[in-house]
């Protein structure tokens, strides 16, 4: 009788502990923040303004997609999604023509993101550029 009692206690106690552990383990791991803490990308630091000459552009990562930042003159900046609206290749700034060019099929956009030549069907999505001191920030337009 005593034996059966203790078997039952062990079974019950053990079962409860084990199942509780199997509930608590995920919860504790959950509360531990993952290495990448950034959640959404609404704004990205695109580097220092002083690193970019006028009539130059560079590609920066905006979330999971590329964006192209263009310094047109000392004070004029533009930024667009660098995903070509034709077949999603990454576009680039072409300083020689002051336009945005897609190397895959020759799609060309002007500095307003509008298509001027080639197969792209839509304009590039424009991003807002803000300068805080010497840092350039690209963000989605409202």
């Amino acid at each position: 009788m005593e034996n059966r009692r203790s078997v039952l206690s062990w079974l019950l106690g053990g079962g409860v502990m084990a199942s509780m552990a199997s509930f608590l383990y995920p919860v504790i791991r959950f509360l531990n923040p993952p290495p990448v803490t950034e959640v959404a990308v609404n704004e990205v630091d695109a580097g220092k303004a002083s690193d970019m000459k006028p009539n130059s552009g560079k590609i920066v990562r905006f979330g999971t997609k590329p964006a192209v930042l263009i310094r047109i003159s000392d004070s004029e900046w533009r930024a667009f999604s660098a995903v070509c609206t034709h077949l999603n290749c990454t576009v680039q700034y072409r300083a020689s023509k002051s336009d945005i060019f897609c190397a895959c099929h020759g799609g060309t956009y002007n500095l307003n993101g509008q298509v001027v030549a080639g197969p792209p069907p839509k304009s590039l999505e424009e991003y807002a550029v803000n300068l805080r001191g010497d840092e350039v920030f690209i963000s989605k337009k409202a």
């Binding site: 995920p26 919860v27 959950f30």
Partner: protein, 353 residues
């Protein structure tokens, strides 16, 4: 050791009085005893929702910019984030389903009759609160389906006669579903509704303890066997609750909740957009009503109809009980069958059409 600890607490909290009260609680044994479990299951699932909901609060961000991405982050980067979120979503649906089962079992066993009218009324309020939780929580992931379902839902609410426009504005936080709506729904979902639910749940449970378990009219109360709630029935309840946990875990692991696509306010509504299953019957009914019935706008009539139905149902203890305090068994059971069939059939129609 534990006995000493309990004695220490008892001396300070008066636990032994509680123990004596708990000892008196019994559950009648009869053909419908199994239905007694459902209230407890609903309570358990509510507890699960509170726990998983609180955990989700550690990562969810209630803004248009980050709402979707924070849920995506939960599903992809946070350890076991997929588990907590999927349990929360599955448990929400199970909770509403169990709440309906609990309500129908109360109706068919006629437990609404005196002295339990207030228990019934608080229960109806709780059911409404659960639907409110479902509606407000549904928007929070900010995906295409949640955005459009909320748009449709607030539009329907807005067509309530007289107060509709005001209700819609207050719900939406403006003229359209947008950032303001998300903030409001978040506030409703994590603070307002929980506070109200807490109060009504406490009232509901206290009333159940006060009035004891009801026996159906066809069982003579004096001649029925009873089982002690503590520990016998409660142990059985624990088995059921543990089982429910296993079911939730399986659902979360094998059918994790979808992420969907980020809400695009300028896109057209997805084809075949419809609300969650617990709103399908009303949704389909509204679709069926012609746009004009006599002089009235069809939608108006539909909503007024639902309002009248809800009010009548809440007043069940009034019309479902005769002057002698006995349940009008045939009338109420008949009405309940009609309601259950209507809900089931129209939900299916709403799903497949």
């Amino acid at each position: 050791m534990t006995a000493k600890a309990i004695q220490w607490l008892d001396d300070r909290l008066g636990l032994s009085t509680l123990r004596k009260l708990a000892d008196h609680k019994t559950v009648p044994i009869h053909s419908a005893t199994r239905w007694y479990y459902f209230g407890g299951i609903a309570l358990f699932l509510l507890g699960i929702q509170v726990i998983t909901g609180t955990l989700l609060l550690f990562y969810y961000r209630p803004t248009v910019a980050e709402g979707f991405d924070s849920v995506r982050f939960l599903m992809t980067r946070v350890e076991f984030g997929w588990l907590i979120r999927s349990i929360h979503s599955w448990s929400a649906n199970l909770l509403i389903f169990v709440a309906f089962v609990h309500m129908f079992s109360v109706v068919f066993t006629h437990a609404y009759r005196p002295p339990r009218e207030l228990t019934w009324a608080s229960g109806i309020v709780l059911l409404g609160l659960m639907l409110g939780f479902g509606f407000s929580g549904y928007l929070l992931p900010w995906n295409q389906i949640s955005y459009f379902a909320t748009k449709v839902g607030t539009d329907v609410a807005g067509s309530t006669p007289l107060v509709g426009a005001a209700i819609a504005r207050i719900l939406r936080g403006g003229d359209d579903v947008g950032a303001a709506t998300l903030t409001r729904f978040f506030a409703l979902h994590v603070m307002v509704l929980p506070m109200i639910t807490g109060a009504f749940a406490l009232l509901h449970i206290l009333l159940v303890q006060k009035n004891g378990m009801s026996t159906p009219p066809w069982v003579a109360e004096s001649s029925v066997r009873q089982i002690k709630f503590f520990p016998n029935f409660f142990l059985r309840e624990l088995m059921v609750w543990y089982g429910a946990l296993a079911v939730l875990g399986a659902l979360a692991a094998i059918f994790p909740w979808e992420l969907g696509q980020k809400a695009d306010l300028f896109a057209s509504a997805p084809n075949g957009i419809r609300p969650e299953w617990y709103f399908l019957a009303q949704f389909y009914t509204l679709k069926l009503i012609p746009s004009h019935v006599w002089v009235f706008e069809g939608e108006l009539l539909g909503i007024a109809g639902f309002g009248a139905l809800a009010a009548a149902w809440a007043l069940l203890p009034v019309w479902g009980v005769n002057r002698a305090g006995q349940a009008r068994v045939k009338l109420v059971s008949g009405a309940a069958v009609v309601l259950a069939v209507y809900l089931a059939v129209f939900s299916l129609l709403g799903y497949y059409k």
